[in-house]
Symmetry: C2
Subunit: 245 residues, 2 copies
């Protein structure tokens, strides 16, 4: 049975954040992320697949569609064969939550590839959560999900205004660390059981309200001519230092 | 005077590696990289610019073109206003060169954004050079140049077969370090005045010929669920460790 035109339009529209929010749905086209979501016990609302695509374990019964239909609903130049629809739920921060474990906070990271890479870094280093400022790339965008290589399914991620959350964490005695050109060398960092690492955008750095909450500024010493490091690379170096042993 | 059709075709064709090699030319459309190339004393063969684009200091006299003409020769969805043509010269490795300073070697890194980010990492940490295996993304591709944020203009970069170069460096006593899941923790690395850091692709790791030249395997300990780190993130962590103090 061909996919009705209205359904094609509806599914395709989910590439826009506004439509995702209105529908309460998001899309995953990366087979690896689909498998990770199912492994993590996150139910999928619907799964469309071409006949050639093997249905992953634990998935809802796939709606079989033709490659041409997939081409019409997909965001990708070369669709993978699967188009999963998940229910979009926005996590919220529990009171005092930041005092347990390590947190990576993203302040205005707009490149979705970078946001996905940062979720993966937090996941690798066993961070407890990632916070995203509302002006960072949307957690549920296709490019974020793909770049996370499955960490999207595992990592707790909360979109929230950073300044009030970090200010109350700092007041509770939690180290709030941010990168800066004139701070302590990253090599002086010792592992910490609980802390927040804040990463700003390469172009604009930390927003003033967030910068005001830092309890310690960290510098990655420069030896050559580059003006900056990529935000995810800088985050990797700082997160790694917090796990040194 | 309108740009002749044959010239438009010729300039546009430089987005393909094969045509760049045949013409001995490459293209830069990032104004920052154009300025860095001129600052580094690297002469440009030609510079096309729209009337609104301010000619950078030290540039050859720009050929004025219309935004529509720029749209036809440009690789970018939103052209910057400038289209510079540089002479493509391939650097070669001098005998024994690797024994001086730090080297970052890229083994089959095919994503051009990653290669550009890796040039920037090497530049930030004051590495002496970057080696690219012939199956890595082409150094002179537009995406590599843009992602390097100007480091393309400053960093010595040599495309070369890695295995023979690294084998002779290892024979000369140079540490050749590579990332591996079962090596020494990166936190045990001490700064070194001369060494090679080899980075493989996330998917396939190091090629067997290159892996055989390693004198030491380095691991970035994992604490969470991610299967791998982005290649540039891993390189940043290892390069940073070599500059610890």
């Amino acid at each position: 049975m061909p996919l009705p035109k209205a359904e094609i339009t509806r599914l395709r529209s989910l590439q826009d954040k506004k439509n995702r929010e209105a529908a309460g749905l998001y899309v995953v086209e990366n087979p690896k992320v689909v498998a990770e979501l199912l492994a993590a016990g996150q139910p999928l609302e619907a799964l469309y697949a071409t006949p050639a695509f093997p249905a992953p374990a634990g998935s809802p019964p796939p709606t079989l569609i033709t490659p041409a239909e997939l081409g019409r609903i997909s965001h990708l130049p070369t669709p993978s064969g699967v188009f999963a629809v998940g229910r979009l739920t926005r996590a919220t921060l529990a009171p005092g939550e930041l005092t347990g474990g390590l947190t990576l906070a993203l302040d205005g990271i707009q490149d979705p590839g970078n946001v996905g890479t940062l979720l993966r870094i937090a996941d690798w280093f066993g961070f407890s959560r990632v916070l995203l400022s509302p002006d960072s790339a949307d957690l549920f965008s296709q490019k974020v999900i793909n770049a996370s290589m499955g960490s999207f399914a595992r990592m707790r991620a909360v979109t929230t205004g950073l300044a009030p959350a970090l200010a109350s964490a700092a007041t509770a005695g939690l180290p709030v660390l941010g990168c800066d050109l004139a701070g302590d060398p990253v090599y002086a960092l010792a592992p910490m059981p609980a802390a927040v690492v804040v990463i700003g955008s390469e172009g604009r750095g930390l927003s003033p309200g967030v910068a005001a909450t830092l309890t310690r500024r960290i510098t990655i010493p420069r030896h050559g001519g580059a003006e900056s490091l990529n935000a995810a690379v800088a985050a990797g170096i700082v997160c790694s230092a917090l796990r040194a042993r």
